[in-house]
C-alpha cells in the first residue's frame, strides 16, 4: 500500500514537472524563434555594447574605490566590508521591490493567464511555472549589473576560485529568497485589493523611495567619506559610517558568506550559505503550499476590472480650448487625459523631476573655487557645456515619452486612419503637444543653471536661443522616427525605444544637437578670446560668428521639417500597404493557393516556399498537413 502510494506520488510529481516544463516552453521557444534580422542584430549589438560599457564602468569604479580603501590604514577593510554590506542590502531591497512588481504581472495580470488557467493543470503547477519566470525576469538584470562590484571585491581581496563559487551560489539564493518573500506578500494582498491597483501603488511607492534615497544620498555628499581630512575627527568619521546590520535579514547571510570566503574561512562560508539554502528551500515549500490554497482565488479576484468613475464631460477644458480647431483640440485633450490616467506614464515624471533637481543641485555645488582657471571663464565654459547636457536630457526624455507616442495609439490607430485628418496634421498636432512642455522644461533647466553659474549676458542669450532652436528639432526627431518605426501591437509601447527606431532616434538626435553645438564652439571660443566683448571682434571674426550661428539655425529648421516629413511618408506608406491586422513581415504575404492547373515547376516552387515559411514559423495560416497533401498531389 505504501509503495503504491509512493509510486502514485512519483508519477504525479513527474507529470507535474512535465507540465511545468510545457508551461515554460512558449517562453524559450519565442526566444529561439525570434528570427534576427540585420536591423535587430545591429540594434542588439549596440545595446549589448552599451551594456558592456556600463558593466565595465561599474567594475572600474568599484575597483578604484576598493583599492583606495585598501590603502587606508586600520579602517580600509572595515570601509570595504561596510560598502559590501550596503551594496547587498540595497540589492536585496531592489530585488524584493522588482520581484513584487514582476510577480503581480506574471501571476495575476498577464494576458495569457486566461488560456493557461483553462488548461487541465493544477493551479500550483501554474504558480510554479510563473514563479520561475517571474524570478528570472525580476533578478537577472540586477544580478548582472551588481556582479562587477562583487568581482572587484574578489580581485582586490585576492579571493580564490571558491569565492566566486560562493558568490554565484549566494546571489542565486538571495534572488530566490527575494522572489519567494515577494510572492508570499503578493498572494494574500491580491485577495483584498485589485492587482492593478497594487502594482500602481507599489510602483509609485518604490519610485518615491528611490527618489528620496537618491536625493538623500546626494545631499549627504558622499564624496566626503573618501576624504577623511574633511572630518574633524576620525571617530566622527567612523560613527557616521558605522551602522549595525541585523542577522535576521538574508543580505547579512550573503555578506557573512562572502566575507568568510574572502578571508578563506570556507567552512564558515559554507555554513552561512547553507542558511541561505535552507531558507530558500523553506520559502519555496511555503509558497507552493499557500499557492495550492489561495493562488487561484487571487487570480479569479484579479479578473474583476476596477471601475473608476470620472466626472466626465468636463466643460472647463473644452471652454478653455474653444477657439482651437476641433481635431487639434480632440488630439491634445486625448493625449493629456490618456497620459495622466496611465500611472506608468506620469509616475516617470517624478523620477525625471528628481533627477532634474539633482542635476541643478550638482551645478550649485561645483567646486569652481578649487579650479586653476579663472572662475569667470570656467563658469561660462560650463554654461556652454551645459547646453549639450540639457540637450541630452531633452533627448533622453524624448526617448521615454515622445518617440513611443505614436506607438501608444496601439490597435486604436484605426480611429486616426479613418478620421477626416491627414497623417501630416496628426503628426504636427502630436509635435505641438510635446513641444510645449518640453520647451518649458529645457528653458527652465538652462535659465536656472545660468543663474547658478553667474554667466555673462551673451552666454545667457546664446544658451536660451540655442535650446529654443534645438528643442523643436529634437521633438520632431522623436515624432518623425516614432512614426517611421511604430509598433502598434506591443503591450508596452515604451519599449519601442529599445528597437532599431529608438536607436536611430538617439543617434539622430545626438548628432543633431551635437552638430549645432559644434558649430557654436567657434563663436564661443572667439568670445572667450575677446574676453566676452563683441566690440573687440574683428570684421572676419564677426562674419565667422554670423555664418556659424546662421548655419546652426539652418540645421535646426531643416531637422524640424525633414524629420516630420520622413515620418509622415513612412507611416503613410506603411499604413496604406498593410492593415493593423497583418504583421508587416512575411505573414503579410498571404500564402497563395496552388492551382492544380499551374505548371509543375511553379507549383513545386510555391510549395517549397510554403514549406520554408512553415519551418521559419511564419506560415501559421496554412496547416502543414494541407501542404503535405498538396505535395503528394504534385507527384
Amino acid at each position: 500500500m505504501r509503495s503504491l502510494y509512493s509510486t502514485k506520488t512519483s508519477i504525479r510529481t513527474f507529470f507535474e514537472m512535465k507540465d511545468i516544463i510545457t508551461l515554460l516552453s512558449p517562453r524559450y521557444l519565442a526566444i529561439i524563434r525570434r528570427g534576427l534580422s540585420k536591423k535587430k542584430l545591429i540594434g542588439m549589438s549596440f545595446f549589448a555594447g552599451i551594456g558592456m560599457a556600463i558593466w565595465s564602468i561599474i567594475f572600474y569604479v568599484s575597483y578604484r574605490v576598493l583599492t583606495y580603501f585598501k590603502h587606508a590604514e586600520n579602517i580600509g577593510d572595515f570601509l570595504s566590508y561596510k560598502l559590501l554590506s550596503m551594496i547587498l542590502l540595497t540589492l536585496f531591497s531592489l530585488l524584493i521591490f522588482s520581484a513584487i512588481l514582476t510577480a503581480l504581472s506574471k501571476l495575476f495580470l498577464s494576458n495569457d493567464l486566461g488560456l493557461v488557467h483553462g488548461l487541465p493543470v493544477s493551479s500550483e503547477t501554474i504558480f510554479i511555472s510563473r514563479w520561475i519566470e517571474s524570478s528570472f525576469d525580476s533578478a537577472w538584470m540586477m544580478i548582472l549589473y551588481t556582479a562587477p562590484a562583487f568581482i572587484a571585491f574578489g580581485i582586490v581581496f585576492d579571493g580564490s576560485v571558491l569565492y566566486y563559487f560562493f558568490l554565484l551560489g549566494s546571489l542565486l539564493l538571495i534572488s530566490i529568497i527575494a522572489c519567494g518573500l515577494s510572492s508570499l506578500v503578493v498572494m494574500p494582498i491580491v485577495l483584498i485589493l485589485p492587482a492593478t491597483r497594487i502594482r500602481s501603488v507599489f510602483a509609485f511607492f518604490g519610485l518615491g523611495m528611490f527618489i528620496l534615497l537618491y536625493v538623500g544620498f546626494r545631499i549627504m555628499q558622499p564624496e566626503r567619506f573618501v576624504n577623511p581630512e574633511g572630518f574633524a575627527s576620525i571617530m566622527l568619521y567612523l560613527r557616521t559610517i558605522g551602522m549595525p546590520s541585523t542577522p535576521l535579514i538574508p543580505s547579512t547571510w550573503v555578506f557573512d558568506t562572502l566575507k568568510s570566503s574572502l578571508e578563506s574561512q570556507y567552512f564558515d562560508a559554507f555554513f552561512h550559505m547553507s542558511i541561505l539554502f535552507s531558507f530558500a528551500g523553506a520559502l519555496i515549500f511555503l509558497n507552493i503550499v499557500i499557492a495550492r490554497h489561495i493562488y487561484f482565488q487571487g487570480y479569479s479576484k484579479s479578473q474583476t476590472a476596477q471601475s473608476r468613475l470620472i466626472e466626465g464631460n468636463n466643460q472647463f477644458i473644452y471652454r478653455l480650448m474653444n477657439r482651437i480647431p476641433g481635431p487639434v483640440r480632440a488630439l491634445l485633450i486625448k493625449e493629456m487625459r490618456t497620459f495622466w490616467r496611465d500611472q506608468t506614464q506620469w509616475s516617470q515624471l517624478f523620477l525625471i523631476a528628481a533627477l532634474i533637481v539633482i542635476y541643478l543641485y550638482n551645478f550649485s555645488v561645483l567646486p569652481f573655487d578649487q579650479s586653476p582657471m579663472k572662475m569667470h571663464y570656467i563658469e561660462n565654459l560650463f554654461s556652454f557645456l551645459n547646453i549639450a547636457l540639457a540637450a541630452f536630457v531633452l533627448t533622453a526624455i524624448g526617448a521615454r515619452f515622445v518617440f513611443p507616442s505614436i506607438s501608444h495609439e496601439g490597435m486604436a490607430f484605426w480611429i486616426i486612419q479613418s478620421s477626416p485628418i491627414t497623417i501630416k496634421t496628426y503628426m504636427w498636432i502630436k509635435w505641438l503637444g510635446y513641444f510645449i512642455p518640453l520647451i518649458i522644461l529645457s528653458e527652465l533647466l538652462i535659465v536656472t543653471t545660468n543663474i547658478l553659474l553667474h554667466v555673462n549676458p551673451f552666454m545667457k542669450v546664446l544658451s536660451v536661443i540655442t535650446m529654443l532652436c534645438i528643442t523643436p528639432g529634437v521633438v520632431a526627431t522623436g515624432i518623425g522616427l516614432g512614426a517611421a518605426y511604430p509598433d502598434f501591437k506591443s503591450e508596452n509601447p515604451t519599449q519601442t525605444v529599445t528597437g532599431f527606431g529608438g536607436l536611430m532616434y538617439m543617434f539622430c538626435s545626438s548628432a543633431f544637437f551635437g552638430s549645432v553645438i559644434l558649430l557654436e564652439t567657434g563663436p564661443v571660443y572667439l568670445l572667450f578670446k575677446n574676453h566676452f566683448q563683441i566690440v573687440f571682434f574683428t570684421g572676419t571674426e564677426f562674419l565667422f560668428l554670423v555664418f556659424c550661428l546662421s548655419l546652426a539655425l539652418l540645421i535646426c529648421v531643416l531637422m524640424l521639417f525633414f524629420a516630420m516629413r520622413f515620418g509622415e511618408r513612412r507611416l503613410t506608406q506603411r499604413m496604406q500597404n498593410t492593415s493593423l491586422d497583418d504583421d508587416h513581415s512575411c505573414q503579410n504575404q498571404q500564402i497563395e493557393r496552388v492551382s492544380s492547373g499551374a505548371p509543375s515547376a511553379t507549383r513545386k516552387g510555391i510549395l517549397l516556399a510554403r514549406v520554408n515559411q512553415i519551418i521559419s514559423g511564419y506560415a501559421n495560416r496554412y496547416p502543414a498537413k494541407k501542404v503535405l497533401e498538396e505535395i503528394h498531389s504534385c507527384y
Binding site: 470620472i310 464631460n313 476641433g326 485633450i333 479613418s418 499604413m575 498593410t578
Partner: protein
C-alpha cells in the same frame, strides 16, 4: 451612394481583391458576404480609407477616396470588426473626441450624445473608463460614435460580433431606420440570416472576386432548383467557384 470602381489590392504576389466593381445606391443596405479570407475586410478598409488600393477607386457620394481622403472620410461612419479604442477615456469623452474630428457643434453634440448613449444603453456607464467596458459595450460605443455626426454613409465590418440578442435587434432596427432616411449602409457579415432580413442587396465575394450581386430573389432565381435561402446560394456559389479553380 458608394461606387467601387475596378478595385484591386495586391500584397506582393498575392491578390487580396481582384477587380471588384459595384455600386450601392443611396438608402440601400448592401450586405457583403464571403468566407474567411475572401477579401471582405480588405475591401472595407479600402472604402474607409485605411488602405490604398493597388488600382481602382472608391467614390463616396461622388467624392474620390484616392483624391480627397479627408473629404471622403467626413461622409463616413466606420465601424470595424474589433473594438480597439482608447481605454483611458470615458465613454462620453470618446464621443467628444470623435465629435471634434467631424466638427460636431457643441449644442449638437450635447443633444446627440445623450440620444445615442440612451439608445445604445450606455448612459449609466458613460462616465466610466472604457477599460472597464465589456467587448459588447465597446462595440456599441463605437457604433454610437460612428452615428454621432449623422453620416450619409455607414461602413460596417461584422456589426454583430460580441453583441447580445437585444443589441443585435437594436442595431438591426437602427440600420433599417437610417436606410429609410436615405443613409447608405455597406455591411460585411457572416450572419447570413441578418443579411437576408435587412439587406436590400447582397454581394458575395470569394477569393477576392465578386462572384454574385443582386437581391435575394435575383440570386435565388439564378441558383439551382430547390434553393431555399441565402445560405444555400452562398454554399453553391462558393463551392462552385472553388471547383472552377
Amino acid at each position: 451612394m458608394i461606387k467601387l470602381i475596378h478595385l484591386t489590392k495586391k500584397y506582393g504576389h498575392h491578390t487580396a481583391i481582384n477587380n471588384v466593381h459595384l455600386t450601392v445606391n443611396a438608402g440601400e443596405i448592401f450586405g457583403f458576404i464571403g468566407p474567411n479570407g475572401a477579401g471582405k475586410t480588405t475591401t472595407i478598409q479600402i472604402m474607409a480609407g485605411l488602405l490604398l488600393p493597388s488600382s481602382g477607386n472608391v467614390l463616396l457620394s461622388d467624392v474620390s477616396m484616392n483624391d480627397h481622403p479627408v473629404k471622403s472620410k467626413q461622409l463616413v461612419g466606420y465601424i470595424p470588426d474589433r473594438p480597439f479604442i482608447y481605454e483611458k477615456l470615458t465613454g462620453i469623452e470618446y464621443l467628444r473626441f470623435i465629435g471634434d474630428f467631424y466638427h460636431v457643434s457643441e449644442s449638437t453634440f450635447q443633444k446627440r450624445s445623450q440620444e445615442l448613449l440612451n439608445q445604445f444603453a450606455l448612459m449609466d456607464r458613460s462616465n466610466e473608463l472604457i477599460e472597464a467596458y465589456s467587448h459588447g459595450m465597446k462595440q456599441r460605443l463605437i457604433m454610437a460614435s460612428a452615428l454621432l455626426h449623422d453620416p450619409p454613409i455607414i461602413i460596417v465590418d461584422e456589426p454583430m460580433v460580441g453583441l447580445d440578442p437585444v443589441a443585435i435587434k437594436l442595431v438591426r432596427d437602427i440600420f433599417q431606420q437610417r436606410s429609410a432616411q436615405g443613409t447608405t449602409i455597406f455591411m460585411s457579415t457572416h450572419t447570413l440570416s441578418l443579411a437576408e432580413q435587412i439587406c436590400h442587396r447582397v454581394g458575395i465575394i470569394h477569393n477576392g472576386q465578386l462572384i454574385a450581386t443582386g437581391t435575394i430573389d435575383e440570386l435565388k432565381a439564378s441558383a439551382k432548383k430547390g434553393t431555399n435561402d441565402l445560405e444555400d446560394i452562398f454554399f453553391q456559389l462558393t463551392i462552385a467557384n472553388t471547383r472552377e479553380e
